[in-house]
Amino acid sequence: MLLNIAATDRTPEIVLTSQPAKLSIKGESYPEDVSAFYGQVIQAVNSLVESPAGPFDVEIQLVYINSSSIKALFRIFEGFDDYQKKEQKVTIQWFADEDDDIMLELGEDFIDRFPNLTIHTLST
């Protein structure tokens, strides 16, 4: 396991494995120190890009995410883009509560920014 971070009131649970390549991010995201919290995740995803291990499945299910976390998440998505450039398929499932327009719209924004990635927005 590359990462196994437990959720707190203000940071999501993050689990990253390489065999199979899987990442899940679930919960709230407004850490006090965004670069410290997401730095490790960006680094771990980038290390997976260096040694890709087949199709990469990503699940994201956030409740509230602040703007600085969105920027960090953008960098993680750049890692997905790099992973896919190595001829490996990346599939992202973006879950949001069916009433949560904010998170559903954000999923669409990521789809707009990363046209090469397969991103599905799913309401729960």
């Binding site: 965004v34 509230y64 602040n66 703007s67 600085s68 969105i70 719209e105």
Partner: protein, 173 residues
């Protein structure tokens, strides 16, 4: 301040339907405490969707104050929240250096009259930009606020002296 002035201030707050007023240094802990308080009040009105929008605008506004605010009561942040006939207005203010206002003025002027679609486009562009000087959100927070507001954002710059300006931003949800 004497007691009659305190009563006058309270009446002023009451007449303006102020539900939260704060002036002073703002820490991360304080932001969370106030956010929880606001959240519980909003949830009491049984509209989780709206409650989340208000929470989001509050967090972005206050995070800006933490990032850009000073440490003493003159330079640090001000938070004022009013609730009037179902409309919640969140106002955040802080004192900044004149030289730091240029980029902010430019950004605000692009946002203030923009329609929702333009704001969304600016937002999407802002997701990838990084500028450490502007804080970890690098302008995205402002767009988040504009995007979530039900009315165009309003703001003012009030000169304090040659070098400093009081900046205030208001968003209504």
């Amino acid at each position: 301040m004497d007691l009659s002035q305190a009563i006058a201030l309270r009446n002023e707050l009451r007449n303006n339907k102020v539900i939260m007023a704060y002036n002073g240094a703002i820490s991360d802990d304080l932001m969370l405490t106030l956010a929880d308080l606001l959240k519980s009040r909003m949830l009491a009105q049984d509209d989780p969707k709206r409650s989340k929008t208000i929470f989001s605008v509050f967090m972005e506004g206050v995070q800006n104050l933490i990032w850009h605010g000073g440490d003493d009561s003159d330079t640090s942040g001000m938070i004022l929240i009013t609730q009037n006939e179902g409309q919640v207005t969140i106002m955040c203010g802080n004192r900044i250096a004149q030289q730091d206002t240029l980029q902010l003025r430019d950004r605000l002027s692009r946002i203030e009259n923009a329609d929702k679609e333009t704001i969304r486009q600016l937002y999407r562009e802002g997701m990838s930009s990084s500028n450490e000087h502007e804080g970890p959100g690098a302008g995205l927070g402002l767009l988040e606020i504009a995007r979530r507001s039900s009315q165009p954002i309003s703001y003012a710059f009030v000169d304090v002296d040659q070098d400093t300006v009081d900046f205030i931003l208001a968003a209504t949800i």
